[in-house]
């Protein structure tokens, strides 16, 4: 279980991205974080694996305090948390294979990995991971030769290499068209059914309805809603997204 307690983050510029955020994520949940751009979704996800250090508060994962973990321990924790990014964050000039293998860095022999040597077992894992997302045939290509949807699948495969217990997905489909959005989210849903907890930030409400087992809504760094997707009625929607907002359905685009 992941417990987030009184989490706050103030950037050096003075921006308060998160204000006293607390919630729990049970193992096996597909938790979706919603909110406007700039509401603190990305900061929240990055605090969980400490790509960003929170200013205050605690994050406990199975009673281990992530926020207090020293560097070596933090790396041990991170390798159990896969992450998928809006902009895919692949090394564009490297091959798909190398990008996927880099997901294994937390496990690999540090010296061997530095000279780019990977064991047969790790290579097999990488091919399997690519196979799971249906692009094993692209292993030898340069990452930037792939389409957006394919690049995000490489991103998912890279996360799979970590044998994660938790996957953080930061708007994984915001850069993709609606049809591809479903295919990526279905992979995440599949992984979730196999027991991996997923915390995912999303924009489109119909995607939230379709995939979320629970929803947390952020507005200006504060939690304004917590519950199931079905509970988001018109009033709640206005509260989260503001009076001006109109619901856009991904399927209608």
């Amino acid at each position: 279980m992941l417990r987030i307690q009184n989490l706050s983050k103030t950037y050096p510029s003075g921006t308060q991205a998160l204000k006293n955020v607390s919630f729990d994520v049970q193992d096996g949940e597909f938790m979706v974080v919603i909110g406007l751009s700039g509401s603190g979704k990305s900061t929240l996800l990055r605090c969980i694996n400490r790509l960003i250090d929170p200013t205050e508060g605690k994050i406990l994962w199975d009673d281990v305090d992530i926020t207090a973990a020293p560097p070596a321990e933090l790396r041990q924790i991170r390798r159990k948390i896969g992450m998928v990014f809006q902009q895919f964050n692949l090394v564009k000039r490297s091959s798909v294979m190398t990008n996927v293998l880099s997901g294994r860095l937390g496990y690999a022999n540090p010296w061997m990995s530095l000279i780019g040597l990977w064991s047969a077992d790790e290579k097999k894992r990488a091919i399997d991971a690519l196979d799971r997302v249906g692009i094993a045939d692209k292993a030898g290509e340069r990452a930037d030769a792939l389409s957006g949807g394919q690049q995000q699948r490489v991103g998912v495969a890279r996360a799979l290499m970590q044998e994660p217990k938790l996957i953080l997905a930061d708007e994984p489909v915001a850069s993709l068209d609606p049809v591809l959005s479903h295919s990526i989210l279905q992979y995440l849903e599949q992984l979730n059914k196999e027991g991996i907890t997923v915390i995912c930030s999303l924009h489109f409400l119909d995607l939230v309805h379709r995939y979320a087992t629970r929803v947390v809504a952020l507005k200006d760094g504060v939690i304004v809603f917590e519950g199931s997707a079905q509970e988001i009625d018109r009033a709640k929607f206005k509260e989260i997204y503001g009076e001006e907002a109109q619901e856009v359905r991904a399927a209608s685009l």
């Binding site: 790509l51 896969g82 902009q87 564009k92 000039r93 860095l105 937390g106 890279r158």
Partner: protein
Amino acid sequence: MARKRRKSAPPACETAMTASSKPTISALPAALLSALLPGLGQFSARQRYRGVSIFIGFLILTMMTLWYADPRWYFSPVLVWLWNIWDAARQARSQKNGFLLPVLVGLIAAYGIGWQVLQIDFSTADMNRATHILRPMLRPDFIQERRETNEMWVEIFVPCGTDVPTARHEMDGKVAIATPDCAAVLETVIVNVSGMWPNAETEILWETPIGNARMLGGNEDAMLVQNTDENGSLTVLIHVPSLALAGAPDPTLSLGHRVYFNQHRPIGGYELSFVGGEVLKGALVTIAMALMATLFAIILAIPISFLAARNLMSGNPVTMAVYVVVRTLLNILRSIEALIIAFIFVKIVGLGPFAGMLALAFHSVAALAKLYSEVIEGIDPGPIEAIRATGANWVQVVRYGVIPQIVPPFTAFTIYRWDINVRSATIVGFVGGGGIGFLLIELIRISDMRGVSAVFITIAVIVIALDYFSAKVRERLV
């Protein structure tokens, strides 16, 4: 009419327009002011920018004409002055744009005066001289026929003294005799040689005791060539060359001069000529110079480039100050041509490829560091974040997140730099930096146009090959 149109415009716009367009001066005084000082009329008519431009333009045109041109160009400032008076009156009535006439006059004057200053005179292009220089260039001095030489000589004493030995020389069955045994400058000597190859061209050449060769044909400016008869004998009447004693320490001292008889015949096949060999050696030195200079430049540029990368240095005021200083230094260094740096290094370490290499390296450090730092500034932080998220340690993040992003562009820029350095290395040679450029300037000095042509071809081949190679490699990297 104009006033009416202005009234229909929105109020905010009207104030702006009246402020700038309301004439403060009428046409006649404006014209008079501009006649007195070009641009002043326009300036007074609230056309400040125009007025100043006209003044500066008129000033430059006038100075240019007075300093450089002959009197027939004096019309141009006068024309502009007249236009300026007319324009002032026009501006006082209503604003008009248009600079066509003065710009046209200015351009014509600039080109006309430029023509005159450059002393352009196509009649000096002498076709005979050009052919004399260009014809040998059609036969670049790379290779020559392999040939063997049959050489013979006889010693003659100039001028006559006491105890002059007999002018007779025997060698390998060949005999050469001169009559008389001694002679003064310009006196006639009969020389006879036998036992040479029969019916073969024989070059006859004078050599002074200090080893200077003097030609005996024409007005002592052409090689004297005679054929031997069917027995291999040859008799020829020569004059002791007028310059036989030039450079001699004591012209009254009787010393042995030699008359040489040289025969050549091909023995089949070709060989690298002396100049051709020097050209190839020079080319090798030049390429090595560029390679070494690039290597030293890389070693220094990599650490410097990190200091010159804004995204790494903008963290706090101290590093920002370092960034500004490093960037400024790089910009200054980069603006000094390698050729100019080479002058200084030739003074410091002496003539030769080492000086050239240092100059190239110096210039390249600045150029490469700037390019590298721009690569570092362009790094995508996304992949670095993603690699950190996998639990990788710091070194692994650099290896998998940073290096793949910077190595290909670094390599591409480095090859590009090497390419430039090879070209520069030839130029740097001109000022004593060694390599093929140094050879070229020497060959031009002694007017060996066949050698010059060989150098041209070699440089062209190297540059074209390099261009192709570097473009191909960069294509694959970027």
